[in-house]
């Protein structure tokens, strides 16, 4: 009865198929060893019943080993592709055994039962040849014993024994046969023979004239062939030869770990690790890189279809002559790592605290605000309740400002923003991608309780300002609406007044008041300066914000936060800037590498108030 273990294995994968197709399998299992031949038909018990009895059997009989035992296989009937087919699962040992029918007298092995029977006749042992029956023989299908294999699933069983044997050795077996010419290895001898016949008959010719008989040496050569490099330098549009030095080699970097980690956790239980490994190793197998005669397919990208081979030149003249060629190859920027950082799954919807607070209407008394912000700054771990977002009707009850701004700002930010976005992002106006990224970042920082960080700090600082501003009923977060700009200007005086009064009245909000130093930031050597860059957060567009943040937080331990920046900014605005680039004002005075060049200085030149 030692086959139940196997039966169960087969069914783990069976199960799903059953479910998906809504079929009911009639499965019965038969134990078959070399001594006793039992016809599959003789046992018609349902699989179901076997399991019913399973516990009894296993307790009364021998202890199971969870491994395959040789000389046994399972037959089950199922009604999927062919209801009459028997599904046979052989153990690896049985499958690989060349002579699995062993004579008990002389230990001679036979591949077929019939042959053994004939042999037994010579020993004068009882023998029995299968008689031809009128009945059509039952079709048999065979399972691959490797649990991770698709053919382990009865619905994918293979139709003949030789097929499954070859499959098993090819896919899961040792590659014993090695081609002497090209060192390629094969698990099945016949494969190796077939390969040996053709190996070396193909020639690989490089454009430089060298001939290769082996593909891999050809590829290696192509990678470094000087002739090619020179050729491409002379004719940059000769796409066929261009850039060979970039991609010549086998660039298959198989990210095993990456793959593994990206597959959702759900799966981790089921595909055993061998599966992953297989994935990792399978890719590089075929590199069919032969000489291709022509440049088979170049698509002109502009709407009209180009027919000449001078396609790209033409394009360049037409539209965008400035674009550097071949740029993208090397481009693969740090961006990816950046995006990995910044877009954790499911973080998107965790940002409830931020806009809610921003959007709190002007119903709040200024006293409240000051109170909140001061505690927020001076103490750590304050929970800020949701008075602010009542008007939202939001179901999210509590809004968390759990960390004191000063605490984690430095570290959190540098990790988030150290990969600042590339310059081209800056020019894109309010790109949705950037917005989403920002949302995700904010979400991620809030959702993790302890990593905390600046965004929380940032958000709270921002919301303070917002709240303050909200008292004046001003929508502050606008960078291109003319109306709100006006309102900014109008409110300039108010704000300044407010800020002054706040600063004067109590050091609770700004620590040491007029000095612009925040008491709350003492911990990590925060210095405040006049740059007011923080105040820009609400007005700059996304990419710029990143840049700003990178400046302020990422680069150094120093924090350049300034809450009086609100005042400063409003003053700036009062000064009459109306350009979207306003944000750049402050940036330009920061660390040089973060200058956004012309834009910044341009805007800065006319409007700075420093």
């Amino acid at each position: 009865i030692g086959f139940f273990e196997e039966t169960t294995r087969a069914t783990t994968s069976l199960k799903i198929e059953i479910l998906e197709d809504g079929l009911v399998f009639l499965i019965h299992a038969v134990f078959w060893n070399q001594r006793r031949e039992s016809k599959p038909d003789s046992t018609t018990t349902f699989f179901y019943n076997h399991f019913l009895n399973y516990s009894n059997h296993s307790s009364s009989k021998e202890k199971e080993k969870p491994t395959w035992k040789s000389k046994q296989f399972i037959v089950c009937h199922f009604s999927m592709t062919d209801p009459d087919a028997e599904v046979i699962a052989l153990s690896p040992k049985t499958l690989m055994a060349t002579n699995r029918f062993i004579c008990e007298v002389c230990n001679k092995g036979f591949q077929r039962e019939q042959n053994l029977q004939l042999h037994r006749r010579g020993h004068n042992l009882p023998w029995k040849l299968k008689q031809k029956t009128n009945k059509e023989p039952k079709r048999k299908v065979y399972l691959c014993p490797e649990p991770t294999c698709v053919h382990h699933d009865p619905s994918r069983a293979l139709g003949d024994l030789t097929g499954i044997k070859k499959h098993y050795s090819r896919k899961h077996g040792e590659k014993k046969w090695k081609c002497e010419k090209c060192s390629k290895r094969y698990a099945v001898q016949s494969d190796w023979k077939a390969h040996s016949k053709t190996c070396g008959t193909r020639e690989y010719r490089c454009d430089c004239g060298t001939l290769f008989s082996r593909r891999d040496s050809f590829i290696t050569h192509r990678a470094f062939c000087d002739a090619l490099a020179q050729e491409s330098a002379r004719h940059p549009t000769n796409l066929n030869t261009m850039g060979s030095h970039l991609f010549g080699g086998n660039n298959m970097s198989l990210g095993l770990s990456q793959l593994g980690s990206q597959i959702p956790p759900l799966q981790n239980q089921n595909p055993p690790s061998s599966n992953m490994l297989r994935l990792g190793s399978a890719g590089g197998a075929k590199f069919e890189h032969l000489i291709s005669a022509s440049n088979p397919s170049s698509f002109g990208q502009p709407p009209q279809s180009m027919h000449s081979s001078s396609l790209f030149i033409q394009d360049a003249n037409q539209g965008f002559p400035n674009k550097p060629q071949l740029h993208g190859l090397m481009q693969l920027p740090d961006l990816q790592s950046n995006s990995n950082n910044s877009s954790p799954a499911a973080s998107l919807f965790n940002l409830s605290f931020f806009p809610n607070n921003n959007s709190s209407p002007g119903g709040m008394s200024s006293g409240d605000n000051v109170n909140i912000s001061s505690t927020n700054l001076s103490s750590s771990g304050l929970l800020m309740q949701d008075q602010l977002n009542n008007s939202n009707g939001g179901s999210q009850g509590t809004t968390l400002f759990s960390t004191n701004m000063g605490d984690h700002v430095g570290s959190g930010v540098s990790s988030l923003y150290s990969n600042s976005l590339p310059p081209e992002n800056i020019t894109s106006h309010m790109s949705a991608t950037a917005l989403l990224q920002k949302a995700a970042q904010m979400g991620s920082t809030t959702s993790s309780n302890n990593s905390s960080s600046m965004l929380r700090g940032l958000a709270s600082s921002k919301s303070e300002k917002q709240n303050v501003l909200a008292n004046f009923g001003i929508s502050f977060g606008n960078d291109n609406g003319g109306e709100s700009l006006r309102s900014h200007i109008e409110s300039g005086n108010h704000l300044q007044g407010l800020m002054n009064s706040l600063a004067n009245a109590s050091s609770s909000m700004f620590g040491r008041g007029q000095d612009n130093n925040f008491g709350g930031f003492n911990g990590s050597g925060v210095t405040l300066d006049q740059h007011h860059s923080n105040t820009n957060f609400s007005t700059v567009d996304e990419a710029k914000l990143h840049q700003n943040l990178a400046v302020n937080f990422g680069g150094s331990d120093k924090l350049t936060l300034d809450f009086l920046g609100v005042g400063g900014m409003v003053r700036n605005m009062g000064g009459g800037y109306s350009q979207r680039e306003q944000h750049a004002i402050n940036m330009s005075s920061l660390e040089p590498e973060l200058k956004t060049a012309q834009q910044a200085s341009q805007a800065f030149g006319s409007t700075t108030m420093q």
Partner: protein
């Protein structure tokens, strides 16, 4: 140019929307063009998604009201995305009221020519499909070297240009052009007829023996036997943004069956299976793709294709939860909308058409549909690799020729596009967002 377009757009909308700060019914809503407004939109969409999940009609209604105040199909990218998402949300909610839903959609006209036009616009103004075609053709050329009879099965031919290019390339092949047979599968006969005509013309011009075999069908209903695959042909199967529709399964049926079997097993097995069964509920499903996909791949495999090139959206829009799908789809389509924004050549009205009829419909399908109806089950490359390898295919790396061509081509569109090689497959990016993957396979 882009700048002027942008400003034109935002000024247009700002005059239309004015600033919601003052005098608006929702004073707390930010101006939608501002960054904060955008963030607020994203947040509201997220909230809305969770309310839709909870099927809380009242809350959804309130959110939709707020969002529709901020969103606009002509506004900034995020405003436009929001428009399509709320439409999808509403559609999903309405599906609960079958009568309403049916009545509202009872007079819907699907215009084939419009759909084709939109696809053409997308093809022309975004480099993605061209990238895929170019890489595909290169792979075909390489895989079919020396072959005398080449049969290409195109699971969704939209653009004849791809095959015209291939014909041209084949005609100058060193060993001479092969006999080329292209089987095109499309649900619209007129697309196939047009393609037939164009390709035959080109083949005649180049005097390549050519045969076009049109099959009017969807990929789901495709009868593999009807493909007319003959022994001796070198077979290439090309799928551009099609294969994912085979993942459509009626999850309800699966789940119900699973439960019944689980009970069936649990009672008998004394916990032997409980752990594995519960964990396998989802994982094995995804491990084994879908029955349709499996049977499709395995029946293809029987014909031992020499090459199979698969282009797919590089995103997971097949999550179990709506929230997950919404989240991923927002990220993905945000990038696509940004791509379109950066495209100089497309006219605003054309852009809106692409957004509404292509992206908007996809969003709607991802968000509003379930079960067999949900066809846009985009999955990431790692899944495809898993499934295809399980189905017995092995990856074919792309040659540098194709990649060089492709990267040059991308550069002409915008600096924002790039691609990487990941696990031997190519992934095309818009800035840092992966958007489409191209992978080549062969029968082991």
């Amino acid at each position: 140019m882009a700048r002027t377009k942008q400003e034109g757009r935002s000024s247009l909308t700002s005059s239309h929307e004015s600033s919601p700060g003052l005098g608006s019914p929702y004073p707390w809503l930010r101006s939608p063009q501002s960054e904060e407004g955008g963030l607020q939109l994203i947040e509201l969409l997220g909230e809305c998604a969770s309310h839709v999940t909870a099927r809380c009609l009242h809350s959804v209604n309130t959110r939709l009201e707020h969002i529709s105040y901020l969103a606009s199909p002509k506004g900034t990218a995020i405003q436009r995305i929001a428009s399509y998402f709320i439409e999808a949300f509403a559609d999903r909610m309405l599906k609960g009221f079958t009568g309403l839903h049916k009545a509202l959609n009872s007079t819907k006209i699907s215009s084939v020519s419009e759909e084709i036009l939109v696809q053409k616009l997308f093809y022309e103004h975004c480099p993605f499909l061209k990238f895929a075609y170019l890489i595909t053709n290169q792979a075909i050329m390489e895989a079919m070297e020396g072959e005398k009879v080449v049969h290409i099965i195109d699971l969704y031919p939209v653009e004849p240009e791809q095959w015209i290019r291939l014909l041209q390339a084949l005609s100058v092949r060193q060993e001479g052009a092969p006999h080329l047979k292209i089987t095109g599968i499309h649900e619209q006969n007129e697309v196939l007829e047009k393609m037939d005509l164009q390709l035959k013309e080109e083949a005649d011009r180049l005097s390549i023996p050519f045969q076009f075999n049109p099959i009017v069908s969807t990929i789901e209903n495709l009868d593999i036997e009807s493909l007319g695959i003959k022994t001796g042909e070198a077979l290439a199967v090309i799928s551009v943004l099609q294969l994912h529709s085979l993942l459509a399964v009626d999850e309800e049926v699966v789940r119900r069956n699973q439960q019944s079997l689980q009970q069936f097993l649990e009672t008998d097995l004394n916990h032997l299976f409980i752990a594995s069964a519960s964990s396998s509920t989802t994982s094995e499903l995804s491990l084994s793709a879908s029955p349709k996909m499996e049977s499709f791949l395995s029946s293809l495999r029987r014909f031992s294709p020499k090459l199979m090139v698969i282009t797919e959206q590089e995103a997971n829009h097949n999550g179990f939860t709506l929230i997950e799908r919404v989240h991923n789809a927002m990220k993905f389509y945000a990038a696509l909308f940004d791509c379109l924004d950066s495209t100089k050549s497309i006219a605003p009205i054309e852009q809106q058409k692409v957004e509404k009829m292509l992206f908007g419909e996809e969003i709607k399908n991802i968000v509003a549909c379930d079960g067999a109806e949900r066809k846009e089950r985009h999955e990431k490359l790692e899944k495809w690799i898993l499934w295809l390898e399980l189905a017995g295919f092995s990856r074919v790396p792309f040659s540098y020729n194709g990649r060089v061509d492709a990267s040059t081509m991308l550069q002409y569109y915008s600096d924002g596009y790039s691609f990487t090689e990941e696990n031997g497959c190519l992934v095309i990016y818009w800035h840092e967002i992966p958007l489409f993957s191209v992978s080549a396979w062969s029968f082991r």
